[in-house]
Symmetry: C2
Subunit: 231 residues, 2 copies
């Protein structure tokens, strides 16, 4: 109300936190230097005092999101431990559905991520994994430590849809052109516990894939330790 309104002092943390909030609310396209500055009640050029440029801003934004991933789990068993960890990470990504897409286009990786992966490797090795198998496990997990899987259809969005580009496509024609997909969706809808949720529960699918990987790795681990060819 007064002519000179009080303004919270700027800081790198405040810049990044505001950027995350802006992208959550209006999408990644809304994150421009000028727009973010306006959100902070400041001129665009002021931001350059806290971030070197747009690229570093984007790096900082994903760092901020990754920091939300709590890197603790109370499970002792390696399998339960990683499972709980990755599922917790998934909750973070569901709060920031744009984060996977941004993360995969960045080519530099925030430093803290290495400490995170170091702990994962430690968990595996302590459980009897050879370093070789631990390495393969890291690759096999892909993006799951970050709480997301590579979802080709409706990326980063929950609730599966399967409509081709032109939505006005005749359903009968689609059934003829895509008989197997059509039959699959029909079967899945029929057997769904709660059909109002749609035919595809991405949480369930995430856990299925995670367990598929964990089970497969466990098999290799047991085989290698019983053969005593570990290491």
């Amino acid at each position: 109300m007064t002519a000179k309104t009080f303004r919270e002092p700027l800081s790198r943390e405040r810049v990044l936190a505001t950027a995350v909030r802006l992208v959550d609310a209006e999408g990644i396209k809304a994150l421009t230097m000028r727009r973010l500055a306006a959100e902070l009640g400041v001129e665009a050029m002021s931001l350059y005092f806290y971030v070197a440029g747009k690229e570093e801003l984007l790096d900082g934004v994903i760092s901020t999101v990754l920091d939300e991933i709590v890197k603790t789990s109370d499970q002792a068993d390696w399998r339960a431990h990683l499972r709980q960890q990755f599922l917790a990470a998934r909750q973070v990504m569901l709060r920031h559905p744009w984060a996977p897409g941004l993360l995969t286009t960045r080519r530099t990786i925030p430093g803290g991520v290495y400490a995170y992966f170091d702990r994962i490797v430690g968990t595996l090795v302590d459980a009897g994994f050879s370093y070789h198998l631990a390495h393969r496990a890291i690759h096999a997990f892909g993006s799951m430590p970050f709480g997301f899987a590579q979802e080709v259809f409706s990326p980063a969005a929950a609730g599966g849809s399967l409509e081709p580009d032109d939505a006005e496509a005749d359903l009968a024609a689609m059934a003829a052109a895509l008989p197997n997909l059509t039959a699959m969706v029909a079967h899945e809808m029929h057997g769904a516990a709660d059909p109002t949720l749609g035919w595809c529960d991405s949480q369930v699918e995430f856990e299925f894939t995670l367990d598929l990987l964990l089970d497969g790795l466990e098999r290799y681990r047991v085989a290698s330790t019983s053969d005593s060819i570990a290491g």
Copy 2:
């Protein structure tokens, strides 16, 4: 040499093919309407006669790349068939390392992709998969039908590096801070068949993950058909 040089007539195919070549050569940032037009010896506005705008151009570019994926395989066994198919797709992605990153940020999917997935589902169902398990398989594969896995470190680039952001970081300090990762890399380098290739062969890792998934799915398939709870 003459004042009026002959110019190959424009077409949507030529626009998209030139765009792919431009991105292959100079990266995704180089793909602007103005730059692409210059590449075609034309003004930027002429492109709008063939593509509705930048977004449709990007959609067309990934469609063009995906069309390179040959959707045939001479293998009869479902496992060998899909394995060969996905590995062939990987060769396409290695030619266009920017394609995975672009594909995952696109939210519309080119129509032909549905036909491709329909064939995959058909292969699975013919092999005795229930529609339910086929659905899970599609999710588990993630981006592998497109020939790439979610590579967190050095995305889309072959040859693993593991240097944190600040490259001048003391190696001894890194070994202390990241003991497990350091030990893992040391073990892998020691055991590598050809150390000049680096400690990490991403082709081998891709195949390991693919086999891990295929083996796990095969186990479910056998279990469901012998229990005759399929469907």
